[in-house]
Amino acid sequence: MLPVLSLLLATLAAGTGVTFVAGRWARWAALGTSIAFLAEVAYLLANFPTTPPFAFTERDPWISLGWLTINYTVGIDGLALVLVLLTAILQLATVVYTWAETKEPGAWFGLVLLTCLGCVGVFVALDILLFFLFWEAVLVPMFFLIGFWGGPRRRYAALKFFVYTHVASIVMLVGLLAIAFYSGAPSFDYVDVVGSAAGLGASMQVALFVALLFGFGVKFPIVPFHTWLPDAHVEAPTGGSVLLAGLLLKLGGYGLIRWAVVVLPTGFAHATPLVYVIAFLSIVWGSVLSLAQRDLKRLVAYSSINHMGIVLLAIAVGSQLGLVAAVLLMFAHGIVSGLLFMVAGSVHHATGSRDIASIGGLTPRTPVLATMTMVGSLASLGLPALISFPAEFAALLATWERVQYWVLIPLVILVVTAGFYIWMMQRILFGPPRGLPDRTEDVPWWEGAGMGLLVALTVLFGILPALLVNLIVNSPVALPPFP
């Protein structure tokens, strides 16, 4: 069979290499790579079989020492495919949105592609070493994206991002190695690890699950390990924020489901109360903090903590519905937060400010930008027929099924957040123009195209969420039957 996944990785790697040296043609190289990437994902979607557990698997020996057996193993299931699709969409949107980047364009587009390559690798890797390799590979380009193209405090933000996530990934690596060695897995292959981890004792499973919860949780980010995120987001350039919120946060959710919940079901079952507590904390705290923000970008950043808290809640529920909701919500948040960070960037470009309190009346001056802002905000607050609604509805339904009235916590928070978004739209979109420069231009075509792509998908998947749900439920390994 055609090694499709290796081809996919090779396409991105080659595209990255060409982009780095392409000079002023870099954006065309990046665009070509993005389109080729999307075409390959379309091939995967068209040929995705429904046979469990993994499709398009490849396995080649890499290191074999008896006590340490590592293969180059890749494969994909519905859970991973949805997130690979998200990566392809966000990569294309980011490349188009930042089409006019003038500061070292070769390096900029190359690093954007490299980030996406790392994410795809994380989603398709089915071996501990390979997974870790890609996991770390995401960190380095993001460090440079923030540290070189970011705002005034970019060095501090990049360093904080690097230290937080790197320490977390070290804990994650030790946790994964411990699972493999303590359970005597015959190799680092995912399937072997899952098989032998079942033999671990309950207390060991709990300890390892908590280690992995921390390791993956920092990327989520979970309260109280979230403080890197606002700094990173505010200082990051718009494209960096889109990838950070849209993709990097998803790595945490994906890793938690794939490598912790499924691998250590007993540990997960025992640690569920802890996961609930962290999820509720993240939901409430993220929302409270976002209420206190005046900076548009900070608002979106803190609402990301809130949304990822709902993802964690859906994971904690642990039912089939909960996990489907979690994956759907990750996809939705990837699209919507990407859109909102682009909006924040465009508002800044158009008005020179991101301060919600000081600008107003954008609609007559910049109708296109205002429309994008509306769609993004309404999607984020969970309006029906937009992408977040089915995901959040499923998450809340799953929560109700398991813990009944506790669902009131996220529900009330959702209403409060919705009110806040409406207030924000009212301030900056409507009313008489305030705080605008004399000539406020509407968004340039490339920014409009990047946002337009995401708006179209927000509507499409909002009306037809079944397109995604059917993919997700066809992945039995990702979604084990729960008691």
């Binding site: 020996p61 890499w62 290191i63 074999s64 020492l65 008896g66 006590w67 340490l68 070493l129 390799l133 770390e136 590979a137 380095v140 070189f148 230290v163 790197h166 320490v167 070290i170 804990v171 690596l173 030790v174 190695l177 411990a178 060695f181 303590y182």
Partner: protein, 523 residues
Amino acid sequence: MTTSLPIGPFAPELVVLAGALVIFALDAAGVRRWRIEAFGGIAAAATALALVLVTADLGFGPLAALRTIGAGTVDGPVGPTALYAFTSLGLIFQAIFLLSALLVALASLSRRSDEPGASIFFGLLLTATLGMLLTAAAADLIFLLLAIEVTGISTYLLVGYTRRDPRGLEAAMKFYIVGALSTALSFFGASLLFGAFGSTNFVVLGQGTGPAPYPYLALAGYALLIAGIGFKLTLVPFHMWAVDVYDGAPTDVSAFLAGGSKKIGLFGFFLVFAGPVALTAGRSVACAANGCTPFDFGPTIALTLGVVAVVTMTVGNVLALLQREMKRMLAYSSISQAGYMLIGIAIGTAPAIAGATLQVFGHVFMKAGAFLVVAAVAGLGVGPLIDDWAGLGRRRPVLAVAFALMLLSLAGIPLTIGFVSKFVLFSSAVQAQGWFVVLAIAGLLNSALSVFYYARVLKVVFLDAGPAGGAPAGNTLPVGGLGWGRAAAIGLAAVAIVAFGVDPQPVLGPIQAAATHFLSVGV
């Protein structure tokens, strides 16, 4: 192990010795022209030939079928009276040592031909290599210490061979005094062990069963050896000399010291401590038979080595962060790398020994390679400070990329040999379970820390603007002022870093087998 002295197994050592003697003889005979080319050529040829012979002994290469040591004494039994033994792990270390000497000899071929001291440099390089080869063949503590001494005396002289450079002389003096002290400590430790066990043979020491109940005497002996051999391996707190010596020595010599000769300390640790740390089985059985007290301080020694390892890597990394000079930064980074390697013997399992050995193997390319680049860049008229390297990425992109690969490998970034060796090493710590997991976490945190100072250098080299200009006047070497030899050595190191980083199995497989055998015999 044989009782008569066979010549065959010693062929690599003899080739290296002959090379040294020829160089000194030609010098005495008054050769005045083409000195660098002649002496350097002899040194490179001798190390290359010895390398071929050693790899043939290991069972690789076209000569493998023709050459077997003493009818198969490789991996054969080693007796309780043996002075030396050729085991596969020892041969692998010999190959590593020869590689480091070969790289340095190749690079030094590109010295300016009017530089004085060519015969001393290349001759001493070979005698130092001879001592290293003998170290890796030791089966007896006294033999080991004597072999270390051969290397030691040669390297003291190498550091100061230019004679006119006061910094080099100062470094040589420091190196000599500290080295003499460490030798004294080592021999004192050896005498205590002899008192406790009645032998200095590693097989006997490994069983840990002495004729008299003197376990604390043995413990004192081992403590002295940690200090004595620890000086060679630049373990904290015995590391003070290393930075001044690496900094003051001619840079090619620094490459040899950091990439090659200090690793005799690691193999010495393997030989001395594999017994007490790893070989516990059968100890009380043997004692029940002859009514002695078993030496059971293995866990204590392992814990001590583990603490020293963590302290060494942490101190090395923290101090490296503070350095402004390139050579001093590399020297401190070399100290921290010794800490990683020591993890291997603290754990004492075959995977851990294999991981540490792979780390030594990779270190030849990344650390010796980095020092060779430093020497090359100094030849291009760049100053000693890290900031002086600004803009090198634009002026000399290929050289800068090679240097970047070496630093990334030292930092343990994936797809380099440095990543693979650290991954194997830290995996072996988790695999050993228990408190060794702490060593893995400490090592990983230290790797994260080390990324900062390597990344800072990369930032200066690639992002900061620097002065324009090429090779300074007076540098007429080919390959843009590097010379063919140095360019070849640097290129070889860079290619090896990536090739073995992507596919480590060809070296890792034999190393793992050798480590397993090593622990089964203790030599």
